[in-house]
């Protein structure tokens, strides 16, 4: 099993009030699954995504990733796991504006400590795999929204992570470009990657194999997607 969540809770202190974002999540995700996490705003899906992406740690419960217990690691160990195991794709792309496509894709490899030549080759391959071989030296503001998201996907892929974690990846794109991005995800899934997609759009979620619906910090339903393949 790739991911095992056991009784995950998360509380926030807002002033004097304690807000419970997750109140006991139990969920397993296996290798090469394609999962959508859905839910209205306030359902806890962002919090769950942050915990899955090792950006945050749960207040209680256990999170095993590749059988490593990561629920109580320190900041730097979490950074390392984000670097090696997780590839993020964000709604707003989150590329560095002053770096070109190639440099953006190289970034995770820099933090991994790879030498420059090796970095460049891997980053080029990743960009080529999302169809941007001819846009490597373009800065984000010289690229269309779809192209930016593809750079972000290349950056997520470049370290060969265990999970690709996409947060509303088509939210800022028109539906045609969104479909292109979803096709890329499908391709990645077919190539053996594990993809977790956070979305509030049924239509996007239906591209996946499995939909986990959250409400009020609990899993409301966990079912196979009917539109899946």
């Amino acid at each position: 099993m790739l991911i095992q969540l056991e009784n995950i809770t998360k509380n926030y202190q807002v002033g004097t009030v304690t807000v419970t974002a997750l109140q006991g999540i139990r969920m397993d995700i296996d290798h090469n699954e394609y999962v959508a996490i859905m839910g209205p705003s306030g359902s806890g899906k962002s919090t769950l995504m942050n915990i899955l992406g090792c950006l945050d740690t749960p207040s209680s419960g256990s999170y095993l990733l590749n059988n490593n217990r990561i629920s109580d690691l320190d900041d730097d160990r979490l950074a390392e796991i984000r670097n090696r195991e997780i590839g993020f794709v964000f709604q707003t792309f989150n590329l560095l504006p002053r770096a070109n496509a190639l440099q953006n894709v190289e970034l995770p490899l820099i933090y991994r400590g790879l030498p420059a030549a090796k970095r460049r080759t891997q980053a080029r391959d990743a960009l080529a795999s999302v169809g941007l071989a001819d846009r490597m030296d373009h800065k984000p503001n010289e690229l269309s929204g779809g192209q930016r998201q593809r750079v972000a996907i290349a950056r997520a892929l470049v370290n060969n992570p265990s999970i690709i974690l996409a947060d509303e990846p088509t939210g800022n794109l028109d539906s045609r470009t969104g479909d292109e991005i979803m096709e890329i995800f499908e391709g990645l899934h077919e190539a053996g990657n594990t993809i977790i997609l956070v979305t509030h759009e049924e239509y996007i979620a239906e591209h996946t194999d499995r939909i986990v619906r959250l409400r009020d910090g609990l899993i409301e339903r966990d079912e196979a997607a009917n539109g899946g393949h």
Binding site: L55, A79, N83, A99, P108, G113, R155
Partner: protein, 408 residues
Amino acid sequence: MQLAENIPIALTAVRANKMRSILTLLGIIIGVMTIITMQSLITGLRKSIHEQVTALGSNVFQVQKFPAIHTGGDMFRKYRNRKNITLKEYEAVKEHVTAAKSVGAEYWMGGQELRHGEHKTLPIISVCGGTPEFIDNNGYEIGDGRFITPQDVDHNRQYVVLGADVARQLFPYDDPLQKEIKISGRRFEVIGVLQSRGSTFGQSRDTYVVIPIGSFIKVFGKERSLNITVQAISAELYNTAMEQTTGVMRVVRKVPPGEPNDFDIFSNDTLIEFFDNLTRYVRIVAIAIASISLLVAGIGIMNIMLVSVTERTREIGIRKSIGAKRRDVLWQFLIEAIVLSEAGGVIGIVLGLTLARLVALVSPVPAAVPIWTVVLGLLFCSAVGLIFGVYPATKAARLDPIVALRFE
């Protein structure tokens, strides 16, 4: 992650806000420029003064009536009543100072016009009545012919050795040796020409002639004070020679114990010491100005780095989300602060050097930049960047990636 990876990142960030960076750097630029300019000029002056006072040969000091350096208006009046130094003291020093290798005597007469046939010099030539020790004790070398010998002195021969400039003025086309020149109406035969010593502060050091001391007395009389030059046997015996000489002079001149010397000792170090004392305060003020402006610059850098961290909160979030550790972010901003202040340091050094060159160009003050000031200046800038960058960089490193990613 390698630390060096941060340098291009830092350069990009500094370049992205050119105007802001330059304004921030003004303090550092001014501070470093001040240090470099002042150091360069002071060192240049010191060096040229050093060259000038090595007029004396090595391990040589000179006993004279007046202090070498006159400060304040009343100095002359104060020393005028001193007794002239005479040949009696010279003989005594020569006899009793055991640490001396050679002791020379010199009478000087300035403002002379020398003639050779049609040619004459400007009336600015100094005539020295000297002993054979002159050449060694003053650090000269013979260029042509020979110098005055003990026999020339014993027999009061009418011989003269010319400074290089005098030889050039009186004998523009022919060889001066064995020719006759006139000093104050008397005939002297040229037996040698000294090698040129060049000039310092635009003043030639080759505008005099040397004749045997007895011949000098015959021409100009001896109603003047003698200079005694003493060369110590070795550098180790230099101070001994100086103490012995002081003792002998005090005995011969009957200076009561406890009274100050009624003569002065001038050495190669005299002017240097004087100059160092004089410039000590200039240096202190320059360092104070530089320190204050570096402090202000440091605060400016801290301020701009805090702005930069806030502006780039989202970038920090992105970097953390894809695997940047705390220390990666810390070093990224520390190195950015150091690069920023080093940029100011380099500009300040270039401007300082240019300014020193310019001053050297329009004035007789030479410029010389000791490499250690440049190195020290750059180290100082790094230190400023490091010290004032720590707080902003720590702030950046501690950002929560989730909060940072949400930052608009």
